[in-house]
């Protein structure tokens, strides 16, 4: 299984009034046709890593890497036209809150159709059919009705499904999901994850799942990367999470209150300064 994504020594810096903020400090990993989870708390750099791959790093930031390659294409040197060609078509990204990533003045159906027609030469009728199929594939029971709705007229879970439909309609090979379920109720979260699970398996996609929820990621992904202060502190198979060796990972696992585990007070993460190095 050859890797579709190679990341080597990725660095992202932001200039601020008080100096350079190093959001990502030398992250390296590769991804094949598998599911990789990137876990970290706020400020760990996990979102910026995902955005760097997608080319969504803000203009004023500095991004560099020894290697940032997708399917042989150098993502650092790619032209804007090539990037537009890649986005949606070969690499797609799902964000946390559909309220902010779906266009509020276009109906859901129209947004999906537009996304498809940007990448494939299909007639409007054909695109509409494909869009309806896609809405059905994300388990929306009445695709025709939802097709005509605006984003503010649907619930959070349905909006997220609509966003997944829109991002996957052009058949990308790699999906980056940045906290796709964090804004949703817990039962809805599972529905969305089941849909993603099904789609990733059926289409043979690679998936990068970015989240703060270590346990959720370990149940959904094959491999897990734990980030802290811009660096990877641990990389392990999801099934071996309980044998994590880095104290940060162990601390993160232990500090969550669990049903049935009665620990008062909760074990607190003892942040060691050497983790910052």
């Amino acid at each position: 299984m050859s890797a579709m994504l190679h990341v080597e020594d990725l660095r992202v810096d932001f200039p601020t009034r008080t100096g350079m903020v190093q959001a990502v400090r030398g992250v390296s990993f590769s991804l094949g046709q598998e599911r990789l989870g990137i876990v970290g708390e706020s400020g760990s750099g996990k979102s910026q890593t995902g955005r760097a791959i997608m080319g969504l790093t803000p203009e004023h930031a500095n991004i560099s890497a020894k290697r940032l390659e997708f399917s042989g294409i150098d993502l650092l040197k790619v032209s804007p036209a090539q990037r537009r060609e890649l986005r949606g078509n070969r690499i797609a990204m799902i964000l946390q809150d559909p309220k902010y990533s779906l266009d509020p003045v276009m109906t859901i159906g129209r947004q999906i159709v537009e996304t498809l027609r940007t990448h494939e030469k299909v007639s409007k009728a054909e695109a509409r059919e494909k869009a309806l199929d896609m809405l059905a594939a994300v388990q929306i029971r009445d695709p025709r009705r939802v097709f005509a709705l605006y984003p503010h007229e649907v619930s959070g879970g349905m909006g997220q499904r609509a966003m997944i439909a829109m991002m996957l309609i052009a058949g990308p090979e790699l999906l980056i999901a940045d906290e796709p379920t964090s804004a949703l109720d817990v039962t809805v979260q599972l529905d969305i994850l089941r849909i993603l699970d099904r789609l990733v398996i059926d289409r043979g996609m690679g998936l990068i799942f970015i989240s703060h929820d270590l346990r959720l990621v370990s149940t959904f992904c094959d491999r897990v990367i734990v980030m802290y202060a811009g660096r990877i502190v641990e990389e392990l198979k999801a099934s071996e999470l309980s044998q994590a060796r880095h104290p940060y990972t162990q601390g993160l696992l232990n500090c969550m209150p669990r049903i049935g585990a009665d620990r008062h007070p909760l074990p607190v993460l003892d942040r060691k300064p050497e983790w910052l190095l």
Partner: protein
């Protein structure tokens, strides 16, 4: 002994939407009671109704034995305080921590404000160096500590907590939950806590109520969740969902 909080057939209606439908609840003094549910369940609305921030269209609320009317008086605010969910929205963006803590003291006419402010900051584990910072200079966990200090500075006996840690990172959540437990122990407070996270609720509360669509689904002891001793399917679904994803299912 009178109950700290007694709610009888409470009904809250926003325009056409019925947020709470005839909810009954009794919280004993010194107890920690949890309200669990998903969005739209009415759990936050219940807290807001007690605080006087939601329009009550039916039913009664008694706090420490006294029936509450349409509005709340200053004496009420010396007994009941609230900690809000969003640390980024619950502190005034243009006021320093010092000013935020001074306000309740000024409204109620306390004299020894300097001493009380320092003591409040100390109690929540923030040093005096935080005193003159603005809220945008604080992390999420620090802001929530300030919110807790602000709630406690009037020395209430009942604390309403609306998802106090859901916007925080896991490691920070543990610290804040520990702080809340310690504060409750030290001051012998009554907690009414809302959360969507079953783990947090069972950790912090002794008894809890599951809510859905503005109504009570089930009432449980925290231990019942651990032993899966639940009666309703909805509660069972919540339990299963909180365990995470199961592949191939």
């Amino acid at each position: 002994m009178t109950a700290a909080l007694k709610i009888d057939k409470l009904r809250v209606v926003y325009d056409d939407f019925v947020a709470l439908k005839d909810v009954n609840l009794t919280v004993n003094t010194g107890e920690s009671f949890g309200l669990v549910g998903e969005s739209g369940s009415g759990k936050s609305t219940l807290l807001r109704a007690v605080a006087g921030l939601a329009p009550v269209s039916g039913g009664t609320i008694d706090v420490n034995g006294k029936r509450l009317g349409r509005t709340r008086d200053k004496a009420f605010y010396r007994q009941v305080q609230m900690v809000f969910q969003d640390p980024y929205g619950s502190l005034h963006p243009r006021q320093t921590v010092d000013r935020l803590l001074l306000e309740p003291l000024a409204i109620h006419g306390f004299a020894d404000t300097e001493k009380r402010i320092l003591r409040a900051l100390d109690e929540v584990g923030l040093g005096s160096s935080f005193r003159f910072r603005y809220s945008h200079q604080l992390s999420g966990g620090q802001r929530q500590r300030v919110a807790i200090a602000r709630a406690l500075i009037l020395e209430p006996s009942i604390l309403l907590l609306d998802e106090p840690t859901s916007a925080l990172d896991a490691s920070v959540q543990a610290e804040v939950l520990n702080l809340l437990e310690q504060v409750r122990r030290d001051r012998k407070l009554t907690f009414v806590m809302v959360s969507h996270d079953l783990g947090v609720i069972t950790h912090m509360c002794e008894r809890l109520m599951v809510m859905q669509n503005g109504q009570e689904v089930e009432r449980l002891e925290a231990g019942d969740l651990a032993t899966r001793n639940v009666a309703q399917d909805y509660t069972r679904n919540l339990l299963v969902a909180s365990e995470g994803f199961v592949r191939g299912a």
